[in-house]
Amino acid sequence: MTGAEHAGEDPEGESMIARGMSATVAKQQHHTLRSKKRTSTDRSLIAKYDDATRESERLSRIEKDTSSSKKLDYYKKRAMDKRIYRKDKAVKAKLQVYKAKRFEAAVAAADAQVILHTETPGMLEIEHEMERTTSLSQVELKRNHLDEQTAKQIYDLTLPYSPYGCKFDRSGRYSVLYGQRGHVALMDSYHLNLHTEFNVNERVRDATFLHNFSLMAVAQTNHTYIYDDTGTEIHKLNELSDPFALDFLPYHWLLAGIGRSGHLKYQDTSTGQLVCSQTTKLGPCHVLRQNPSTAVMHLGHSNGTVTLWSPACSKFLAKVLCHKGAPIASLAIDLSGNYMVTGGADRQIKIWDIRKFQCTHSYFVPSGVATSLDISQRRVLGIGHATHTTFWSPEAITRKCKEPYMHHHIPSCGSIDTLRFRPFEDVCAVGHGKGISSIVVPGSAEPNLDTTEYNLDPFQDKRQRREAEVRALLDKLDPNMITLDPSEIGGIEESTPDVRQERLRDKQEQANAGKRTKKQKAKKRGRSKVQTQLRRKQRNVVDQQIIKLREAREKEKAGEVGSPEVRQSEDLTPKVLQRFI
């Protein structure tokens, strides 16, 4: 059958084919969409969703990496240029289409946000220059400014097993309150109901929720235990012994803990295996926080350093000397994972840009050491120091501010143990020597929920919770995917000579790993020789000469010991006190 015959079959051109978007059309469409007039807010919204603008910086860096044309000679440069310009047409077209689609998606997402984000965040604002937001007390806030539901969130719980700590689950609906003398309580923070409470009759150092409120890990005197929401003990984690601090990585399903021995341990809560155990070699550690965007664990040590850890590496990923000569008392990382805040015993609070590992600025704590730090979803920085809690506005993280945003004083409560912001609600829970205080910090939380993420919906029912659990399990990430820069995953490895050499070495090792080295036979020759046998017989015989030799040796020893004794005594003094001698 020839083509001509076939053309006659479809005279009307009925078999219309939708072909999607061709490259030229995509280009046009992209152009028109881009050049469309928009308000600045719209533009910023679109930029927020457009990956291209967001990651253009990273891409340009990569390009700089690959085509560092300064160092290349003429021929190499020419070769490189050729390589760059010799582009596959099909790939180019596909990229064009993809680019246009992404931009379209960004515009659509920005439009959707306008509709879906019904709540707008707001902070306290002053009416005239003489006013200060710091002077607004919780009482006044409760009386005059808040609606009924929010005003309910300002309360104090006086509890007997103080000092108390508090942590929220990912949705912010439930909180676990743990008294250091053994009391653990699960509270519904929305209805203000007590869900469960029990006493473990042991010291409780930390507690954290696992993927949702139905399971929580509690760091007790000797071991870590897992309880369910009715208070039943589910597991006893022998590996996580002597724990001081716990944290849970929701996307990797890893429970991380560190304790007296200074070993950071990761336990997979879905399979129950101990994923890895890493030695910090820096002694007991109390400060453990996760970077919510990269899942890297940050540890604050008593020598003033902060180390960053991933299960993929047996050594730390980075080590930063944050507070010189002063232990790290507290640490917090913001939701974007770009900023870290550390509080040291030198009463300084330092803000770090983790991308550059650079201290951007610092604040001095007027009273006491910052015992607890937290950054809310919208980057309000909360500091618990002595009996005070001070809150700094989101700008205080990016640049130095003169005045704090809010302040709250809890008189005669000992020092504040933990300070935690509640997700999706402008509430901050403060655990201290007398119990728990809940206060309202306007503008601290994200007002709009992201329902596509698992276990984030505070109002989910049982079925939704179960489904989310399964889905989260299906989407569980490998522990080795945790790196300083998560965008590296799925990318191409850096290609410097050093890296290539290292890669080669790794490959060699991998190839040789299977080979078993030949075991040396443990055999001794000449054991049955006459000479050896005779010598063996003589071994334990003590005669005159031997006695003489022994005496001489002892004398020699005594003479030697006399002189180094002084040296030894010096050595015995601890290193830290040597400067006083």
Binding site: I17, S22, E104, A112, C413
Partner: protein
Amino acid sequence: MAKKTSNRKMSEKGKKEKSRKQQTPAIVDHVSDPEDEEIPEDGAFNSDDERLYGHFFKKKEDANDQSSMSDGDAESDSAGEAEIEGDDDGQYMLGLLDKLNSTSSNDGNDVSLSSRMMNMPESDYSNSISNRSLALEDLMETLHDTKDFKELQRTFQKQKSATTAPMEKVKADRERRKIAYEEQRKSISSWTKVVQENRQAESLDFKPKERVEVTRESLLAKFEPRGDFEKDLEKALEAAGQEDEKAVLREEERALQDDLGDNLLSIEEYTKRRGQLAQIRALMFYHEQKRHHMKKIKSKKYRRIRKKQRERATESALQAAIGEDENLAKKLKEKEEVSRIQERMTLAHKNTSKWAKRILRRGKNVDLDTRKALSAQLKRGDDLRKKMLDDGDGSESNSDEEDIVESARKVLADTEVENHLLPGSSGLFKLSFMQKGVQKQRDIAREEARKLLAELQANEVDDSDETEEGAETHTGHPGAVASKAEMTNVLHTGELRVRALEFGDSNVVSTNGRIELLNKHHRESRPRSSLINQQKLNGGFSGPSGDRSFNIAIASSPPFQRNTASRASDTPAKTSTSERASARTINKETSNPWMGSLESKESLNVSSKADARTKKNCRGMKRMVDIDAAVNILDSPLGEDRVSCNRESNAGIDSKPGDFRAKQIALLNQEELVRRAFATQSENEAEEEFRSEKEKIAAEFDPTRRLDEDKVAIGAEGWGSWAGAGVTPPVPRKLPQNLMAPKKQKEASRKRKDDKKPGVIINQKRLKKTANGFMLGDVPHPFSSRHEYEQAMLGGVGREWNVSGAFRAMIRPEILTRSGKIIAPVSKRAKGKRAPAKF
């Protein structure tokens, strides 16, 4: 098969010919069969055929040989053949036989042909009859004398043109294809566009588009009333004349054209209508009013701007008024004064206020009242600060004792003053017994105070010079003094000579010049101290340690003790008191942490006979103070409260120390924290340790490092040469330049990411598990560069990152079909209908 059999017959004929030539014409007749003509002669019996049927012929040949011997057989055979061929009439056959006999003798042509055939050997490569083409004329010649020859010839002449052989089918097909191809080639370019589009298309949608569009018209056209209700409705509509649109229109038109009075209004209707209109108007008016009112409601910002405008206007008006009337200016000044007083009251006891700063800037030119106000304010501030200090201090502290002295004195002074102006002005106190009672109580109090004072003073004299000085300086407040009159007021027991007063920015006033305080105790102690001084001078220098601790004492005491420093330089050695003093100062230090920074400055500022040595001491002492500062840093909540109060005294935060339990916690913490403070390193040590660790790690993870270098040190002393006692050291061999080994180029050490960051170590070891499992080593196939690949991988595709439409567009499959539906073949004219844009 028919072809093959005839071939066989022909070849048979060739062989039989030498024996029986007469049979050939009959066979020729068969040759003219149209089917046989189709095969060219040379292709009729080729080598292939012979391979297949050759053996058959050989057998036949043998058989022929045999048959030639036995004639009878052959005859019967030929007779049989004759019977088959010519069965119509025997006459014809007989004629043929005669003919044969006659031609065999005279026709040379035929002979030559047959002889030629005979000469040709039959082999695999040649065919006996293939050399000459057999024409029809050749065959016809033999028939020319037969009966129907003419007729036959005529028919042949007629058909002369039809004798050209048609082309073989294969060839014809080939030709046909060629032509068709040429034709297609011209029109094929019209397909390129479609094909290209399809190839380049993002996806091809083969789903049939058979969706029927439902419109209102189509529904209306199809409508038929079904069911009782619908039928009833239809009937009712018909009855009303509104069964369809046209009918309705008709009705309306008729109503308009009706001029029989149906359109006119009755009076009731009119009134009703008017009422309605009035109501509407009233409503409209109300809303208009409301809107008018709403319009007047303005935002806060608007009000603020308006307010500013108004203020500016009034100000300008006032200025104008002042220009005209002087009384008004005076009044205004008074008003301002009042407001200033108010301000003073609210912003008491600080010289950091704007007002205080202005006065300070003016210096001595300020009038007396203002200065008084300022000094009072500062005094209050000092009092408060002192109060704070006292609160926290233990009862054993020195300052506390001094305070008792002072309070005792105050009580005495008060009672003396009040003696003159006794109460008794008010009602109940007028009664004599009441007055007596009061007097008695007062007397008792005074007596007690006197006793206490005496006792304390005695203690002080015994104690030491240092404490005396502390006490006496406490009585005076040089820092808070502004005027001489004020000074006398404050220092009722002493005298102060000030050369220059300098007001700083802080709430502490520093003096530049020598301050000399003289009072009774001082005068008493003066000779004593000078005596000690002499003694010590004679006895020589006591030693630096005592001196040092003493200086700390000075430094750590509150600022108004600064004059003691000058005294200290007068009497450099007070070893007797040094021990206690130092102990005390440490106590002070812990209780009063925020003085640290001040005091060192203060001690350095002292301008007196403070020689180089004191300065040195100060410097030496600084280290000690550092430790104290470290203690302070780790201060407990108890201390913190105080400091916060000091910092934000306006904020009105409760500065009272907590209850007993909290205090206990604080003390515990303090102890613990002090321990920890001593356990930690100093800044420098921490830095040093960190740097060494960094270097170690950089060396360890350097991939350019050679592994064997660590293990074996090649080229060690003694290798390759004689060694031992008495051996002359070997002269290093020197080769000419061109033979020397090339110098080893030193490899540049690996660049590290943390090179320029002193406080950071970044681990640059390759993350084996991550890199092997989740990263690519090279740019994958279709991409030419890393950049391209990254661009293609950019951004999220899933539901979590996109709205549903965009998500669907992102994951659109390449081919879309509907199962069970026919995929229509591609059409040249089919224009690509693009899927509607999704945004």
